[in-house]
Every structure is written in structure tokens, then in C-alpha cells.
């Protein structure tokens, strides 16, 4: 506790110095980053507390869904992984009873629902789209995942990795999206499926998922490792 207080104090002093020294930005100092990380962890707890498992993200009329959805990644669409439908296998790991890998055919045969929801990017843009697929909850139940575990993690073919809290994984609108605008999810948008979570910021919606695991240890996230908030709920 003393350490936290000392860091907070040092952060406060740095903050004061910041306003006096124009043009000097102390954000990159380790002590400042540590204080900001503490706030971010506090915000994780606050967000988990105000997340309501039964509250649905707003849905919109199908006419409002964008047909030509924005491509978004840190690499260009030509660099997006092209997974071979025949060779693809979804691997399962962690606290799951039935860990046999899944083929695209098996995944696409799962019961499906559709949603017209809004994708909100951490940068501030938002876009409404129509996604169809299987509720993640249905899939987790089918594979015998331990839903009393705390987290669900994802590994992706493009080197991306993400993880979410179990209440969000079990939320009725969290889905494995196989289709975008009624068409099989195009290669660049994350074929064979992306995790669509309308209660999370866009970067918590991983694409090209190759592994799903269930764990009690908070999974790291690609952008979280680069300083973004972990929970990032909406």
C-alpha cells in the first residue's frame, strides 16, 4: 500500500511538473506508466462491476447495416492470413471436457442466429453490421467448457491474441460469427470466423481464431500488451 501511495504521489508530482514544463511530456516515464496501469486495473474492476449480463447491446433495423464493412487491422488486407478451409482445425485447450479439434464444416453446422449491432472502435468510429453465427455460450456448453472458470482466451492465425471475462463470454449476444452481411465471412475479415462481442470495443473481437481456451488466469491481449485497457467493455 505504501508503495502504491508513493507511486501515486510521484505521479501527482510529475503531473504538476508536466504543466509547468511546456513541451515536456512525462507519459513515457516508468513511474507514470505504473500509476496509469493502476488506474487501468481499477477501471477493469469498475467495468466488470457495472457490466450487466442480461443487458443487450442496442440492435438496429437490418437496413442500417453497412454492406461494405470497414477493413481494420495493423496490416493491409493483402497481408491478411488466408486459411485453407480443408486444412483448418479449431484447437481447444484449458478447462474444456471435449478437446477434439473442429473443422470448418462442423463449425458451420452449428445452430445459428443473426444480429444487427454496432461495432465501436477505440479510436471513436462506429459502424453497424449484420453478423450471423453461433452464440459462444452454445459452443462452450457443447464442448463441455467449465463456465465457472474466469476467462476465455483466443489465439489467432495473424498472431493476434485476446481474452474476455466469462460473464461476457456467456452474454447472449457474444457469438462466433461465421457470416457478415449474409455472406460467409470473407478471408480478410477473419475467415473462418471472428468473435463478435457487441458489448466490447472492436479490438476485443478477434478474427481468424485458431484456438479457444478456458482459464482462470487473465489472458493477455495484443493491444492490451500495448497499453490499452484490458476489460474495454461498452
Amino acid at each position: 500500500m505504501t508503495l502504491i501511495r508513493r507511486e501515486t504521489l510521484r505521479g501527482g508530482l510529475s503531473l504538476g511538473a508536466l504543466t509547468l514544463l511546456t513541451g515536456c511530456d512525462l507519459s513515457d516515464h516508468d513511474s507514470v506508466q505504473r500509476v496509469l496501469a493502476r488506474f487501468s486495473q481499477w477501471n477493469d474492476r469498475v467495468q466488470a462491476a457495472i457490466f450487466s449480463p442480461g443487458r443487450l447491446a442496442p440492435t438496429f433495423p437490418e437496413a442500417m447495416a453497412v454492406k461494405d464493412f470497414r477493413y481494420n487491422a495493423w496490416y493491409g488486407p493483402d497481408k491478411a492470413p488466408r486459411l485453407d478451409p480443408a486444412g483448418y482445425r479449431l484447437q481447444l485447450a484449458g478447462r474444456i471436457e471435449r478437446k477434439a479439434p473442429w473443422t470448418v464444416e462442423q463449425l458451420y453446422a452449428l445452430p445459428q442466429v443473426s444480429q444487427v449491432t454496432r461495432h465501436v472502435c477505440v479510436e471513436g468510429w462506429s459502424m453497424i453490421g449484420k453478423w450471423s453465427g453461433t452464440p459462444l455460450r452454445t459452443f462452450l456448453e457443447q464442448i463441455g467448457a467449465d463456465t465457472t472458470a474466469r476467462y476465455v482466451g483466443f489465439e489467432c492465425a495473424d498472431g493476434y491474441y485476446e481474452g474476455i471475462d466469462m460473464p461476457t463470454a456467456l452474454h447472449p449476444q457474444t457469438m462466433m460469427a461465421f457470416r457478415l452481411s449474409d455472406e460467409v465471412l470473407p478471408m480478410k475479415y477473419g475467415y473462418p470466423f471472428k468473435i463478435r462481442i457487441p458489448t466490447k470495443l472492436g479490438f476485443k473481437n478477434p478474427k481468424f481464431v485458431t484456438t479457444i481456451y478456458v482459464t482462470d488466469k487473465q489472458p493477455r491481449g495484443y493491444w492490451t500488451d500495448r497499453g490499452y485497457n484490458w476489460f474495454s467493455g461498452l
Binding site: L15, G16, L18, T19, G23, D25, S27, D28, Q33, V35, L36, A37, F39, S40, W42, N43, I50, F51, S52, R55, A57, P58, W74, R118, V120, C121, V122, E123, G124, W125, S126, P198, T199, W223, R226, G227, Y228, N229, G233, L234
Partner: protein, 224 residues
């Protein structure tokens, strides 16, 4: 002509809350500008990098492929707590203690117009420890603006958990626009606020040490 000593007093609680809000607001503005730059509302208008908060953009880009937005958001979501808590305490204390009633009231449109005209003719005398109608209006405006910032900020931060709230602002993008426009209003207030402080530095002294005095020579021509 009479001579009198005017006095301005700021109790410690008011001074602490004032400076916590001031610092928090600077952090919110600086980091908010960096976040704005990631997806500008006005096409082709971005804030100069040196005026934004969130570390070295080029280093962050080189290391992470992140345009320095992660740090800016971390600042923004840290200072939002200090700002909101200080603001709520300041408002509650301002109403309960009588500070607002004594110092920011009465104020009517007629008084504002009268003092505005007097100011434009350089006839508006400053009396330490007493606010003219334009100042009173500005303080109410700034306090109301912070409330709108907090509400539109919540609508942007939690558009699902607080869903109907964004409808007040015309949807999610509407809330972003309101958040941006009211920020501009607050920046304008801060510029004028600081300029006036520089013209009458004793007011700054009072907000730092708690008390300042000034001899006043009243003439018939000045309007209070």
C-alpha cells in the same frame, strides 16, 4: 474619493478542489486531443502533436504500431476520476456552504448585458473578492459545461450499459460531437480565465495562499 481595502478569501477545501479540477482538466484536454487525432471529427483538422498528451508518438508507432493513443486513453481514464470526484465535491460543497449563492448570485440577463457593455467601454472596475455579472455567468457556464462533459463522456465510454443516455446527444457519434464542442467551450473559458488572472494577479495569489487584499480608490465613474 474614498479608499477602502478589498479582500478575497478562498478556504483550503475550495483551493484544493480548484487545483485538482484544473490539473485534471488539463490532462483531459491534452489526452482528449490525442484521442481525437486518431479519428478526427472535423475532416483534416488535427491537434498539433506537441499540444497533446500521451508520450512519444513516433516511438510508440515504431515499437507497437500504436499512434500514441494507448497512453492518451490511460491518462484520460485516470483523470476522469479525479475530475469527476473533485467536481462533485466542489458542486455539493458550493451549494451547501453558500459559496455559490453568495458569490455567483444574483445574476440576471439584464445584469450581464449591463456589465458586458461596461466592460466593452473599459468602465467595468474590478473589485477583488466580488464577481461581476459576466464572471458569474461564465462560472455557471463552466460548471454546467463540466456536467455535460461527464454525461457525454459516460455515453461514449459505456454506450451499451448506459444505452438510452446517448440518445440525449443524438446517438453515439452525437455524444462524441457534443463532447468535442463543449471541450472547445471549456478551452475558451480557460483562456479567458487565465488571461484575466494575469491582468489581476492578486486573484491567483488568493487561489494559491487563500487570501489577497487590495486598496481600492472609488470614483463616481466606475461601475461595479
Amino acid at each position: 474619493m474614498t479608499t477602502q481595502v478589498d479582500e478575497q478569501r478562498h478556504p483550503l477545501s475550495r483551493r484544493i478542489l480548484h487545483w485538482v479540477m484544473a490539473l485534471s482538466m488539463l490532462v483531459m484536454i491534452g489526452s482528449g486531443w490525442r484521442i481525437y487525432n486518431a479519428h478526427p471529427i472535423i475532416p483534416d483538422f488535427t491537434f498539433p502533436e506537441w499540444a497533446t498528451l500521451g508520450g512519444d508518438v513516433q516511438a510508440s508507432l515504431a515499437r507497437h504500431g500504436d499512434p500514441g493513443v494507448a497512453s492518451a486513453i490511460a491518462w484520460h481514464f485516470a483523470a476522469m476520476w479525479t475530475l469527476a470526484i473533485a467536481y462533485i465535491l466542489f458542486m455539493a460543497w458550493g451549494f451547501v456552504s453558500g459559496h455559490f449563492r453568495r458569490d455567483f448570485l444574483p445574476v440576471t440577463p439584464r445584469m450581464v448585458v449591463r456589465d458586458m457593455l461596461a466592460a466593452l467601454r473599459f468602465r467595468l472596475a474590478h473589485r477583488l473578492g466580488e464577481y461581476n455579472a459576466v464572471q458569474k455567468m461564465a462560472y455557471w457556464g463552466a460548471l454546467a459545461a463540466v456536467a455535460v462533459m461527464i454525461l457525454s463522456g459516460i455515453a461514449i465510454w459505456k454506450p451499451v450499459q448506459t444505452y438510452p443516455l446517448e440518445l440525449l446527444f443524438g446517438g453515439f457519434q452525437g455524444a462524441r460531437l457534443v463532447h468535442f464542442l463543449v471541450m472547445a467551450g471549456i478551452v475558451l473559458f480557460l483562456v479567458v480565465h487565465v488571461m484575466l488572472t494575469l491582468i489581476v494577479p492578486r486573484t491567483l495569489l488568493a487561489m494559491v495562499v487563500g487570501r489577497a487584499t487590495e486598496r481600492r480608490h472609488d470614483t463616481a465613474e466606475t461601475v461595479r
